[in-house]
């Protein structure tokens, strides 16, 4: 019995350990080498009127340039710059500062009575004269140092009144003062002497001296800052309210890759000026186009010697809402009064000009005035309408295409049955496009090509009698690299694809391309890789 138990125990344990080792599996490394079977879309594009518009707009030379199309398919490149001359560029009355520092005799315990009178100059520019100012916004700050006098100080501005009452500032002499006074609504009628418009201030000090010193020190400062006139009458002199050099970069026509020929059609420069001030202006412009390649300067300069005069508005001509309608003037430089077309055909890089705006060009003929809303606005607009012509414009692009990396290993080339590319185009432009793609190695040596010769990818759409597209043209192209070609390209280590494309306005080879809103192009590229089992 005991022997049986022991044997069974051993048999049980043996049963448990009856495992065996089988198969020597040798794996050099875990790797992923499953050959792909894969089909996927790559990209699609819907190029329409807006797409071309955005492209041209993006490539416009400056942010202030716009691209527009008209109903005749004409492309407009429009540059616009605005200039504004505000009231404080016409009259210089922004800040006024006046101060007094004085020693005068005093005796302790004796009465002090001291008067000072002075003029405060208001016109920083001596060529200007101010007759009346009604202040819309400003603050006056008066600082007086304390004195050893027990009494009162008074500062009186007799030309500065509100409701017929002159402005008075009072303080205790032994305390000094620093007061900020809102002077909005005050009217100042300055006095005039040679080249100066001024207002007077009278300072009266009355009290009893408290110090043993035999003199007292008087220190007073007055400032009026950020004066905004509700209305300012006077004469503001003859001066340059604006004198600025500007450059409009129009190198678009040199740098742009798309057209190979451009016809300009009716370019013009428009100067548009509006005057909301009670001051007349003259506007002069010294302008020229610059050709960078030969450093040519091609002047236009129709407003260099003569000038555009802009009248002033009349004080009493305000509208029912209290606002003024501007006085307007404009000047047009076009092909009738300039050689603009010829200049543009020289492929200029920029349009450079100096804009000069001068007040009272004829001296004082009538009283000027300004309000806080007074301004002068000048717009300079350069319009360049053009058509494109494209005659077999070719382009070369290089695309990275490391075949052996795509199929993971050169040894795998034999497993790939085919790699196919599918191109689907629906062309609504009067343009044709051909392409050829070369498979090249690292040194750009051509190994093979994708197409047998040039492949017409965009066919010519159907045109009406006006050479306008009436029906889009669909093209479906398939390029297949078969196993033989893949193995060959793999062996020769293809690294890149060099893509040659050429476009032409072949629909109307003798005509310029016009863009219409219904024009467009759709394209889809997809691929498929098929591998052997």
């Amino acid at each position: 019995m005991e022997r049986i138990r022991t044997k069974l125990l051993f048999a049980t344990c043996l049963l448990a350990m009856a495992g065996c080792i089988k198969d020597d599996v040798e794996i050099d490394e875990f790797k992923y080498t499953r050959m792909p079977n894969l089909a996927a879309p790559v990209f699609y594009a819907n190029v329409d009127y807006n797409g071309i518009f955005k492209h041209l707009a993006k490539n416009k030379p400056q942010n202030n340039a716009k691209v527009e199309f008209d109903n005749d398919g004409l492309i407009y490149l429009t540059y616009k710059k605005n200039y504004e001359v505000s009231w404080n560029s016409v009259a210089d009355i922004n800040n006024i500062h006046w101060s007094v520092n004085q020693l005068f005799p005093t005796v302790e315990g004796k009465e002090v009575s001291h008067n000072i009178s002075d003029r405060i100059t208001m016109n920083a520019d001596s060529s200007q004269r101010f007759d009346t100012i009604i202040i819309s916004k400003s603050t006056m700050t008066v600082k007086a140092q304390k004195m050893d006098v027990d009494g009162d100080g008074t500062m009186i501005f007799s030309e500065m009144t509100k409701d017929g009452k002159a402005l008075e500032v009072k303080w205790k002499l032994n305390e000094g003062t620093e007061q900020t006074i809102d002077v909005s609504g005050y009217k100042i009628v300055p006095g005039h002497s040679s080249e100066t418009s001024y207002m007077t201030t009278n300072i009266v000090l009355e009290g009893t001296a408290t110090a043993t010193s035999t003199t007292s020190y008087l220190n007073i400062e007055m400032t009026m800052t950020e004066i905004v006139p509700q209305v300012l009458f006077g004469y503001f002199g003859t001066k340059d309210a604006l004198n600025r050099k500007s450059i409009m970069d129009i190198s678009f026509f040199q740098s742009h890759e798309f057209p190979d020929e451009i016809e300009f059609n009716g370019a013009f420069i428009n100067l548009d000026v509006n005057n909301w001030t009670g001051t007349p202006f003259n506007l002069k412009m010294d302008d020229r186009f610059i050709v960078k390649s030969n450093k040519d300067s091609l002047p236009v300069s129709l407003l260099k010697d003569s000038a555009l005069y802009i009248e002033q508005i009349n004080y009493t001509d305000y509208r029912a809402d209290g606002k003024y309608a501007p006085k307007h003037n404009y000047f047009l430089i076009d092909t009738t009064n300039s050689n603009l077309n010829a200049i543009l055909n020289c492929s200029p890089n920029s349009y450079d000009y100096i804009l000069q705006i001068t007040t009272n060009p004829h001296g004082e003929q009538s009283e000027n005035f300004l309000t806080e809303e007074s301004k002068l606005q000048a717009d300079v607009q350069l319009y360049i309408p053009f058509w494109l012509k494209i005659t077999n414009l070719t382009r070369e692009d290089t695309i990275d295409f490391d075949l052996n990396s795509i199929i993971l290993d050169a040894d795998n080339a034999k497993y790939v049955d085919a790699i196919s590319l599918y191109f689907d185009f629906d062309n609504g432009f009067p343009i044709t496009l051909w392409s050829q793609a070369y498979l090249v190695d690292e040194k750009n040596t051509i190994v093979d090509s994708l197409f047998n010769g040039r492949e017409q990818l965009w066919n010519t759409p159907k045109l009406d009698q006006n050479k306008r597209v009436s029906k889009w043209a669909a093209t479906h192209s398939q390029v297949t690299m078969d196993n033989k070609k893949i193995v060959d390209c793999s062996k020769k280590d293809v690294k890149k694809i060099i893509l040659h494309t050429g476009i032409s306005t072949t629909s109307a080879p003798d005509q310029y391309l016009k863009f219409y809103k219904e024009y467009g192009l759709t394209m889809n590229l997809s691929f498929e890789v098929l591998s052997k089992k």
Binding site: M17, G19, K22, I27, A39, V42, F43, A45
Partner: protein, 478 residues
Amino acid sequence: MKRYIAPLLIALLAVNATAQTSLSLYHMEVVPQSSMLNPGRAPRCNVFVGMPSANISFRGETNIKLSQMFQKVDGEWKFLTENDFDYTDINRRLKKGARANTQMNLGLINVGWRQAENYWSVNWNFRISSGASMPKAFITMLDKGLPDGTRLNFSRMRFNMISYHELSLGYTRALDEQLTIGGRLKYLSGVFGAKTKFSKFDVTTGRDQWAFDVDGEANLSFPLKMNPDKNGAIAVDSIEWKEMSALEIVGRTLIGFHNPGAAIDLGAEYKIDENFKVSASVTDLGFIIWSKDANKLSAKNQYEYNGFEVEFNDFFDGINLSDRFSDVVDSVKNAFSSHTTTKTFATGVHPNIYLGGEFTPYQFMSVGLVSRTTFWGNGVTQNFNLTLNMKPYSFVSVMSGYTVDIKGCITGDFGFSINMGPLQYYLMLDGLPLVQRRMTFEGEKIVMPYNLCDMSVNTGFNIIIGAKGPKPNHNSKY
């Protein structure tokens, strides 16, 4: 630092913890934990106390056979990611996709005692179950690639995980000399729970279009902080763990009773004669209602990829493929972005059905046959186990046998228990691969199991009082 404590604790518990999961334990009646598989079978002892936190079990199950991942092609070994690998066998075995499930149990308090014809037991276990399903579409994709006109269904992709405390009271009673019945009532308290479900997850690929159509939901009971964007959408990578204090973590994982549930075990044993017994049981028939930190993430989106959109400018400026690819990836990610609602949900606890038969020709030896059917969240598994149980001496029991699953995966079982006075140690190993593969990988030699289908480990220490050894049998011819 605190933010990492909760996930760390979960990870540790997931690794270390487990219900009694060894099929071969069923007939090891000298180990008290065997009654966990059938409450109708009382263990052979008067009183037992499981050593606190020293009884653990683990079961891992998958329908992926390791041996099918390697093939010898033209005298050279290939892995399934290599070009010449033939997927016929894998496709045959994984008709609905791959699956993996685990169950773990940590016995915190296990006590049982006999009282006349009655046997009582009280148990406090911490348990974790998890399961994941990988749909067949993944394998198809690896095998066939994504040629024109491919339609893949990923809707069987699942992930389920529950961890919970189980407090149970068991009762077994011999009704007569032949029939014994028993049951166990369980109060369950969920700690963390997650379940996912896709009613639709279609991916269509072709030369003209790739399309994703997703309609799925994930129910979570985790301390998570959702961070919706301005549209209320939640990207998976925007979800963060809530910061919790140590006290909150302990409260949530050990002593908090937030997500209530209940389960029942029922079992019976019938003694046909002195040598033959048959038995049957149903265990873990129950559910948990999850309400603490319950969130339902719903994603219902469609995305179509027709290629990169190229603008007229791009023909002149060139295309940045990496940017465009990122845009596509973002769009696909957006297709999986979800919206959240606070919603209570319920999960089951993976019930088992056991049917057993035991032939005892001698007091010291028996031959057992057990059938186990397990209902995982992502499928049903069926195992049969044949064991030879030996008790050659009063202090030692040895078990050895085979387990075979319904798909023909045969593995070995081995186990033993040793009693040193009242102290008992036991170890049960099920699903041991009978055949090993010696692999040389990048020059290093390793031994890998040939099959690893349904494996479990049970081990622990018990204090046994009144263990009954083999009774003298005067009729024995030996």
